[in-house]
């Protein structure tokens, strides 16, 4: 092991120290030093991880995965031990680079954003905690370690979303985020324990192997239903990812998570945390790929979420909510691209192009989505409102932000030269190649929708005439530099990284791969046409600042428009379920039951004894002759008992 890897624990330790120092001491003293420390820590680990990436990819074919360091943390019994360590393989190194770079950008950005916030020091502390736990999650070597950091990521997102804890809506949003992800993590833990029990190990390298899959791949009857252990455990583990990556039914927390400060949503809800679910599926891809049922579920869930989120995004008016739903739909993309890797006809082989495409999209999406959120932050900071209808004509006021946002919208819309197009194109290619035509076509439609709502956002905020709130908008230098810096990878990395991803990215452990023809000629053309058409429709409706046609269109849709606007009332359903059903129908009766029945029984026993006491007391009424009478009675009684017993 060359020494470059043996110090990889530094990447983890740097943000942790920043967290400790900031939250315990420096944060309160002066927030600038705290900001400096956390940015320096992140920059350091960014440089170091880029170096590791460089070394790793240059020697790649030699060693697929390296365990940099590892030590025992928790022994359950002699066979089963949980370890803490660092596993470097293509996806984890890639994620290392993405997280550290994005985190540095966000740190720089938050210096500007948090300038006048009293508790800025605490913000930087919690941000470093988040980076520490995310990095820990990415380099995990076994299921328990990934679960440990999974929970830490959950908690840090709880702390960051609820950063302005005086705002009730932020507090509720953070609680909702934590509980929903916690709900998914319970199933994840169950999946871990089942795999740990069946395979007698938690380590990824042992799990992602053929004999592990065979040993799990047997039917077991649980009470009345018979079930395949491999399918059950993989689905349970996937549910963990399902909650964290906010797939369809568990997506409700992501739009509300926008309550947190914008740098938080830029790092957590665009690039890193929500991608954890996809990373988990990618990490366990080999074992997942042995159960086609799980892959189908992944594909179905991903595809539906993509469509569902894209449709809602078109109707939202809050800038951050639009970006949140666009993240949801892009996550759907990445998820279903992992799902479509097995051929629809059901024969053995796995087409790992889907896996590579998903990772490539994770890589590209991280940059432009983070930049979009930073832009949203800058705009909100300038005009002090989230509502896009109140913004307008910021083109002249914020030129740098304007041009970099244009680049990002083009990228996400899938317009050819930029990075978004390449990764989305690979995903659609993977789905069509393995025969999933429906999913592929839905992907194309969603591509069009994405372009539409992104450019709707773009035109409404930057074009049209300057509204009164935008008069004194200005560009803070601390905030604009990261936006511009991020524009570079948004434009550039598309074709540079394509060869890397398609060439060297192979999942942990070996898979029976099927070689597929490398590309369909018609696909890129159709995809870019969908993107451009989305752009044009957006230009027609919103380009010139008069929204008459747009509002007319939305009236025409009528009721269905309002339903979509309210996110299909899913939040209300969840509230109903939790408050009405769980709290009032389950918790309240239990509370009543406890205080009345169980407690009541205890009090009843007490009351009965008290009653007997009263009866006996009744006989002490001070009549001497009664006492004498009872005395003689006792005497005769004893005699009879003696007579009977003898």
């Amino acid at each position: 092991m060359s020494d470059v890897y043996s110090y990889s624990w530094l990447i983890l330790v740097a943000p942790f120290i920043a967290f400790l120092v900031n939250s315990l001491w420096l944060g309160k003293k002066n927030w600038k030093a705290a900001a400096g420390l956390s940015t320096f820590a992140m920059a350091g680990s960014a440089v170091y991880s880029i170096k590791i990436a460089f070394d790793f990819f240059t020697q790649l074919p030699a060693q697929k995965h390296i365990i940099a360091w590892q030590y025992n943390w928790l022994e359950f019994n002699d066979t089963l031990t949980a370890k803490i360590g660092c596993l470097l393989d293509p996806i984890s190194v890639m994620m290392l680079v993405v997280i550290t770079v994005i985190a540095t950008m966000v740190n720089i950005y938050s210096i500007g954003y948090m300038k006048d916030d009293p508790s800025a020091g605490r913000f930087f502390g919690t941000l470093s905690l988040f980076c520490f736990s995310m990095l820990g999650l990415v380099v995990a070597t076994n299921l328990i370690q990934i679960y440990v950091f999974w929970e830490l990521v959950g908690v840090s997102s709880y702390l960051l979303i609820g950063f302005w804890y005086t705002k009730p809506s932020a507090v509720a949003a953070s609680k909702k985020a934590f509980i929903v992800t916690r709900f998914a993590d319970a199933f994840f833990l169950l999946g871990i324990i089942i795999t740990g029990y069946v395979l007698k190990t938690f380590d990824f390298i042992d799990i992602n192997s053929l004999q592990a899959a065979d040993s799990m791949n047997h039917i077991v009857s649980v009470g009345f239903l018979t079930v395949n252990v491999l399918t059950v455990s993989t689905i349970l583990i996937f549910i963990g990812g399902w909650g964290k990556s906010a797939m369809f039914p568990l997506h409700i927390w992501l739009p509300d998570a926008m309550e947190g400060p914008t740098p938080v949503s830029s790092i957590i809800h665009s690039a890193t945390m929500v991608v954890a679910g996809i990373f988990l599926t990618a990490r366990l891809f080999t074992i997942f790929s042995f159960s086609f049922v799980t892959l189908d579920i992944i594909a179905a869930v991903g595809c539906f979420t993509a469509l569902f989120a894209a449709v809602i995004a078109c109707t939202q008016s809050d800038i951050k909510r639009i970006l949140a739903f666009s993240t949801l739909s892009q996550l759907g993309y990445m998820m279903f691209s992992l799902g479509v890797t097995h051929d629809i006809s059901g024969d053995e082989g796995i087409n790992i192009l889907g896996f590579q495409a998903s990772m490539f999209h994770v890589f590209t999406h991280a940059f432009f989505k983070c930049m979009l959120f930073l832009m949203a932050g800058a705009v909100i900071h300038a005009v002090h409102t989230n509502d896009i209808w109140k913004m307008g004509g910021l083109r002249k006021k914020m030129p740098f932000t304007y041009w970099s946002t244009l680049a990002a919208c083009l990228a996400i819309g899938g317009i050819p030269p930029l990075s978004g197009f390449w990764s989305k194109d690979e995903i659609l290619l993977a789905s069509f190649l393995s025969g999933h035509n429906i999913i592929g076509s839905i992907g194309l439609i969603v591509g069009g929708l994405t372009a539409f709502y992104m450019f709707r956002l773009f035109f409404v905020t930057f074009h049209g005439e300057l509204k009164e709130s935008g008069q004194h908008a200005h560009e803070d230098k601390w905030m604009t530099t990261p936006i511009v810096l991020l524009a570079i990878p948004t434009i550039g990395i598309g074709w540079i990284a394509k060869s890397y991803f398609l060439g060297s990215f192979t999942p942990l452990g070996h898979i029976a791969q099927i070689e597929s023809p490398h590309h369909l000629t018609w696909l890129p053309i159709v995809a870019s046409i969908m993107g451009v058409s989305g752009l044009i429709i957006a230009w027609v409706l919103y380009g010139k600042g008069n929204y008459k046609t747009a509002t007319a269109l939305s009236e025409k849709f009528g009721k269905s428009y309002t339903v979509i606007k309210n996110k299909f009332y899913i939040d209300e359903i969840y509230l109903h379920i939790t408050h009405k059903i769980i709290f009032d129908k389950v918790a309240a009766p239990i509370k009543w039951f406890d205080s009345n029945i169980v407690d009541g029984f205890m009090n009843f026993v007490g009351w009965v004894l008290h009653l007997f006491g009263k009866l006996v007391r009744f006989s002490q009424n001070g009549q001497i002759q009664l006492y004498i009478g009872t005395m003689f009675l006792g005497f005769f009684l004893i005699y009879f008992i003696y007579k009977v017993a003898a």
């Binding site: 002759q625 009478g629 003689f632 005769f636």
Partner: protein
């Protein structure tokens, strides 16, 4: 059965009937003084019975201590505590009847044990006369069979009882219940 009655039996029947009659009158008489007098009568006849059973010392003691001391003492207390003309406290009929029946049954039940104690042939050992000197000697006898220790204990007991009675009955001229004593 009539022919075999001896003087002793005759005396015994007379005395026992007087005892029982006295006892019933003690219990049921309306006026306390009548019941006290009947008590004296009953005690006298038991003393007679003791003499019949060759226990002169006990008879004499009975007459002196019981009748001379205790009953007379009771008469004094009666005079002290009952204001003249006070109506007699008639016990409730239901108490009387109830107690009566129960106690009669109990008496018969206890009496039913007597045959188990009787052993006709060996019972006729007429005890030697427990005369005054013998009893007195046995009382103070230092040997093992003697009753010296109970004798001492009894004397202490009597002393204590006397002091106790006086202490209780002493009307401590505590000002608090001054008025009580005056009326």
């Amino acid at each position: 059965m009539l022919s075999s009655i001896t003087i002793q039996d005759l005396f015994f029947f007379v005395l026992s009937s007087v005892i029982i009659f006295g006892a019933i009158m003690v219990v049921s008489s309306k006026n306390l003084i009548h019941s006290a007098i009947n008590l004296i009568l009953c005690l006298f006849s038991t003393a007679g019975l003791f003499i019949l059973l060759n226990a002169e010392f006990v008879a004499i003691a009975q007459v002196m201590v019981y009748i001379g001391g205790v009953v007379v003492f009771m008469l004094f207390t009666i005079f002290l505590t009952t204001r003249l003309g006070e109506e007699h406290l008639e016990p409730l009929f239901k108490n009387k009847f109830f107690n009566g029946t129960i106690l009669v049954m109990a008496a018969c039940w206890v009496a039913s044990f007597i045959p188990s104690v009787i052993d006709p042939e060996r019972d006729q050992t007429f005890a030697q006369n427990a005369s005054l000197t013998e009893v007195g000697a046995r009382f103070l006898d230092l040997r093992e069979s003697g009753f010296i220790v109970p004798f001492e204990v009894i004397s202490v007991l009597i002393l204590v009882a006397m002091i106790g009675a006086i202490a209780i009955a002493k009307n401590d001229n505590d000002p608090k219940n001054k008025d009580e004593v005056s009326n």
